[in-house]
């Protein structure tokens, strides 16, 4: 019995190793080498092939053993007791969220916070905000949108253009960017009202590409492939964060009588996006508990039943597109002001795919899941830099691992939007 199982595990591991070997010979075994003047040639590195194949064999065997152990324990004792299966209690969730916010606020002042780390955290926060925006459309309303980056682009370009033409500052242009992006959300929403699933995904993908190509070709307005330069930075209640003010006004460091440092501007941008993200979170959490949010989720569950209950699916869908687009627009405006330069290259399908991956990996509809997934997906390639060319391999392996062990996302638990309350009255 045990011997048969060992033999089966060995055979399974050998099969996996054979597959790994076949794949590794062409992928890892050969390397093109640049000889400089004399051209390129091919070098072999079969050592790595053997290491990889052996590694697969060992890991596969270990998995089989641990799987057998788990089965054994499941028979012996209750491994999945109800306490482990249930969602964490509400106050534990709230506490975790609070701790995360406290950490985020304190981050730039921690001893190890370098300029690089704060910059990275800012990028993570942009993706968290985009993820929360797309979560409304995909996670709550269940409308698969592959062109979300279009709204990000609309937000970024509308801020850049309004700043250039009308001299609007960041805080003045922010609502404009949001409203314009929401309008584009409705524009996209109308033609796709009757579509669902794959068909909707294809049309939204096309919409995203359309926006990018318009930005690329409408050079007179958007600057074409050169993009737009000189986008103003946000100010701290009217105090610019510059070495000296352009029009002779008072700057941030003069007002507070501290020496100027470029770090101030970076930390300030970090707090701006943190503020925007927290407002976004509060906003969407609130919406989820309102009739509109419940209608989004009901639409995701069953559109026909919605109709039979007197819910107008058109309005529900358009509102989801508009709110999701608006949040993307805010993030876009921030992106523009942070870099001071935007071009169509920043708004490719790759971005849409990353944002969607954040939502799906996080667990559809989960706010905290988006945070975790954004941290993982944005920082992983950064940490992977040490591994140079294996970076994307690592990234792919991590995504496969998440999908194998958490197929419904990192945090798949759905918290009810309303509870009947404590059990006493039952």
């Amino acid at each position: 019995m045990a011997a048969a199982r060992v033999r089966a595990a060995l055979r399974d591991a050998a099969m996996a190793a054979a597959v790994a070997f076949v794949l590794a010979v062409p992928l890892v075994g050969f390397e093109t080498v640049d000889f400089g003047r004399t051209g390129t040639g091919i070098a072999t590195r079969f050592g790595w092939v053997w290491i990889g194949t052996g590694g697969v064999f060992v890991v596969r065997l270990a998995l089989a053993v641990s799987g057998a152990a788990r089965l054994h324990w499941a028979k012996v004792g209750p491994a999945d007791s109800p306490a482990r299966l249930g969602s964490p209690p509400k106050h534990a969730r709230a506490l975790a969220g609070l701790l995360l916010v406290v950490f985020a606020v304190a981050l730039p002042f921690l001893p190890f916070a370098s300029r690089y780390l704060v910059d990275l955290a800012t990028t993570v926060l942009i993706y968290i905000m985009l993820g929360w925006g797309l979560n409304v459309v995909v996670g709550l309303a269940g409308l698969l949108d592959l062109g979300y980056v279009a709204f990000y682009a609309v937000g970024a370009y509308s801020f850049a253009l309004f700043a250039r033409w009308f001299g609007l500052s960041f805080w003045e242009a922010l609502p404009v960017s949001g409203v314009l992006a929401a309008a584009f959300g409705v524009v996209l929403g109308f033609p796709v009202l009757r579509l669902r699933g794959d068909y909707l995904a294809i049309v939204t993908l096309g919409f995203g590409e359309m926006i990018r190509i318009i930005l690329l070709n409408w050079s007179r307005v958007t600057g074409g492939p050169n993009g737009l330069l000189g986008i103003p930075k946000p100010s701290f209640f009217g105090l610019p964060l510059l070495p000296r003010a352009r029009d002779g006004g008072v700057t941030f460091h003069q007002f507070f009588h501290i020496p100027f440092s470029p770090q101030q501007s970076i930390v300030f941008l970090y707090f701006v996006i943190l503020f925007l993200a927290l407002v976004t979170n509060a906003f969407t959490l609130r919406l989820r508990r309102l009739p509109i949010g419940r209608a989004w989720e009901a639409l995701r569950e069953d559109e026909i039943a919605c109709r039979a209950l007197g819910i107008d699916p058109t309005k529900v869908k358009l509102s989801a597109f508009a709110i999701g687009a608006m949040l993307g627009g805010f993030a876009g405006a921030f992106f523009a002001t942070r870099l001071g330069f935007i071009s169509p290259e920043s708004f490719t399908f790759q971005e849409s795919a990353t944002i969607l991956a954040i939502v799906v990996l996080g667990g559809m509809g989960s706010q905290m899941g988006v945070v975790l997934a954004a941290i993982v997906l944005v920082t992983l390639p950064e940490f992977g830099r040490a591994f140079a060319e294996y970076r994307m391999l690592l990234f792919g392996a991590a995504m496969v691992a998440i999908m194998v062990w958490r197929p419904r996302g990192l945090l798949a638990q759905r918290a009810p939007s309303i509870r009947l309350g404590p059990a006493e009255g039952r």
Binding site: R294, A308, G310, I418
Partner: protein
């Protein structure tokens, strides 16, 4: 003026006439059953009434508060919202991932949406919305007590046993405050005890709320036991219409169900 008057309803799909020239009426405070062999066009009639199909010919007049609604011209969601026609489905259509309570709250969407001032008041947390939500929960609570699901209010609707899902779907339809409740095979897949509970529930709805019930059902004991009036369809045509005792003895009905010899 009956609550619902179906006049000369016909609907064809391509060359097939699914329902041909069917007329009947349903009254307030009565249970009207539509029966007939499989494929007789019963669910098609329901789909016309609730706006999922548009009839080829015919008028579907619903009088509510002395106002007439012509259902054949209205969108499905407006039929539910303005004319007050609620329905359940042959294959249950609950919001499976949402909780039992949420299912009943979603059914009160239009009332709550207005109370939340189309989300703006709700975002600000105005008492107007908070009170409306409390009322909605109270109403849902009342229905949960009636269908015996109060203890499972915070569980996912999809995790309920089959019979409980059927009862929940009826309660959800009732939470829209309908004038006409259309039930598509509510007893399908229920065991005898659950069927008995269903009968009690349907009779209490009829007697307490005074609305009209329209019922498609194959369980003849249930149909004969609770219906005030029965409409029999066969091959898309009406072959009988009347109180249960008359329909039971009707030779055409016996022929349709049992064949010519019977």
């Amino acid at each position: 003026m009956p609550l619902l008057a179906v006049e000369h309803l016909s609907i064809g799909f391509g060359g097939l006439l699914a329902v041909g020239d069917v007329s009947f009426a349903a009254e307030e405070g009565e249970i009207t059953a539509i029966i007939g062999p499989n494929g007789a066009g019963k669910t098609t009639v329901f789909n016309c009434l609730t706006g999922f199909y548009r009839p080829t010919v015919g008028r579907l007049a619903l009088s509510r508060h002395g106002r007439m609604h012509y259902l054949e011209r209205m969108d499905g969601f407006r039929i539910a919202r303005e004319a007050g026609v609620a329905r359940t489905f042959q294959n249950i259509r609950l919001f499976a991932g949402m909780t039992v309570l949420e299912n009943l709250i979603v059914a009160q969407h239009n009332v709550l949406m207005r109370a939340s001032l189309y989300s703006f008041g709700g975002l600000l947390g105005l008492p107007l919305y908070r009170n409306a939500e409390a009322r909605a929960v109270a109403k849902a609570r009342n229905w949960l007590d009636r269908i015996g699901l109060t203890a499972r209010a915070d569980d996912a609707a999809g995790s309920l046993p089959y019979g409980a899902q059927r009862r929940l779907e009826i309660a959800r339809a009732m939470c829209t405050d309908p004038h006409l409740l259309c039930l598509d095979e509510p007893a399908a897949g229920l065991n005898p005890r659950e069927t008995a509970e269903l009968i009690t529930l349907l009779l209490s709805i009829r007697d307490e709320s005074g609305i009209g019930l329209l019922l498609i059902e194959h369980d003849m004991r249930l149909v004969m036991g609770i219906s005030d009036r029965i409409v029999v369809l066969n091959y898309g045509r009406k072959i009988a219409d009347g109180p249960p005792d008359a329909v039971r003895r009707d030779p055409d009905v016996i022929k349709a169900y049992l064949g010519a010899e019977a």
